[in-house]
Amino acid sequence: MFSSPFVRKPTSVQSVMLTVLLALLPGIAAYVWHFGAGILVQIFIATAAALATEWGFLRLRGKPTALYLSDLSAVVTAWLIALTFPPLVPWWLIALASILAVGVVKHLYGGLGQNPFNPAMAAYCLMIVSYPALMSQWPAAGHLDFATQWDLIAGGVRDLDAITGATPLDALRTALREAASPSSPNHALNASTLMDGPAFGLAGGQGWEWVALGYLAGGLFLMHRGVITWHIPCAFLGALAAISLLMWGLRPDHFASPLFHIASGGSLLGAFFILTDPVSGATTPRGKLFFAGGAALMTLMIRDFGAYPDGVAFATLIMNLCVPLIDMKTQPAVFGHKQD
């Protein structure tokens, strides 16, 4: 016998995950438009690997496979992996990342709802530590045809010229480092002059600003559907803008502008799709603000002073660690116990 409530809102984990996948579509469309269809292959590989791993672990753990496979949470993880990795890494890297994300980061910690870390980001960090070279080969917008992309993904010989080798964030860092040394021919350059160069496009690197715009659209859709609240995106982007504005204002020749930081790298994907992962993120309204603000600070520190091209992944993991504490300390006042 079951008890009240006897009526329920027509909602399910599956429908929530499906909404997230839908919200990723505009970003993916922009990705394909600017960087070619290779990314679709990667998404497919990641999805297949993630689902296969999920199935295997569910069987091992004696859980109903159809029920849990159809919750689509593994698919969301897979898509995020494909979208955060460089698009032309060999297929096995994506597959390995997906297997680790679903198998180790999710199921070894207890499966759906139990993982303390964001699976996609944990996999990203594992991969960038293990395969730093492969993980930093980023193509420039639209000059590879699909056949070349296919070849690269399939593990073909990597002609490093074809893959320009750095994200805008990376390019900026290299250029700045170079400019800082007096012997370099580029000594006179600084961040603001550099960013007028053609590789940087309108705001965050050629082509990437459109992808970012796609993520923004998807994120707004998620907010509209009530899947995520405003707290994390606003706090993350707000803090990112505020801190980078401060640094940019102090040393404009050393640090990139807020707009650049927001539009490039994984900022928007992180703000709307990664940090908002409910399982590993903070849950209280105030906690979300701290969580996302901290992630923004971490991201900037890593971008500006660290060795890795983008800091969103590491920042996410570090803040994931703080979630229990944040949640415990930010429980909202309950009805009748408010001091007002």
């Binding site: 109903p64 159809a66 029920l67 159809s70």
Partner: protein, 183 residues
């Protein structure tokens, strides 16, 4: 190297001083452990643990003379709480001490009672009233169900009656819904 050693030694000294200070100034008086153990024991005062009441048993546990699995009325839950408190392994109830039973109260068959007052003397919580050669009865609200009054009764008129669950004491069950294999 040397400076590192000095720093470590310094830290060790400071921490040691803090600990020493704390152990003197924040020492807890008395023996609250016995109180804590006693608070977990069900206070049935039945003696099944081998001690004349819950408090002596608590004493024995805290001194390390008795194990934590000797109290049948406390049952599994009691053992778990004791294990929690003392940081020990949970173990099953020692069968020599008895078995866990549903809570019950003593009932005196008033037709048979001869008023010998033996049960009054046995009751650890003064839950039986009556006078010599008068009928006795159990105040069921006070009875702990220790069964100590049963043996002394010369006419065997005392029985234990399980306390029935009522609408007021009924408990919601732990929600277990088997996850059905979907399709």
């Amino acid at each position: 190297m040397l400076s590192a050693l000095i720093v470590m030694a310094g830290i060790a000294l400071v921490l040691g001083a803090v600990l020493g200070y704390a152990s003197i100034h924040f020492r807890v008086e008395g023996d609250p452990l016995v109180e804590k153990i006693d608070a977990i024991l069900p206070q049935t005062q039945c003696g099944q643990c081998g001690y004349p009441g819950c408090r002596p048993y608590a004493d024995a546990i805290s001194k390390g003379d008795a194990d934590i699995n000797q109290c049948p009325p406390g049952g599994e839950e009691g053992i778990r709480k004791l294990a929690d408190l003392l940081g020990r392994e949970v173990k099953p109830l020692n069968a020599e001490n008895g078995v866990e039973k549903p809570r019950a109260v003593a009932f005196i068959d008033e037709q048979t009672c001869i008023g010998c007052t033996l049960c009054i003397q046995a009751c650890p919580v003064d839950a039986i009233i009556g006078a010599a050669k008068q009928m006795h009865t159990v105040v069921s609200g006070l009875c702990t169900g220790c069964e100590l009054c049963i043996a002394p009764c010369p006419v065997d008129c005392i029985t234990m009656e399980t306390i029935p669950e009522t609408v007021e004491t009924w408990k919601w069950r732990y929600p277990v819904f088997a996850i059905r294999q979907a399709a």
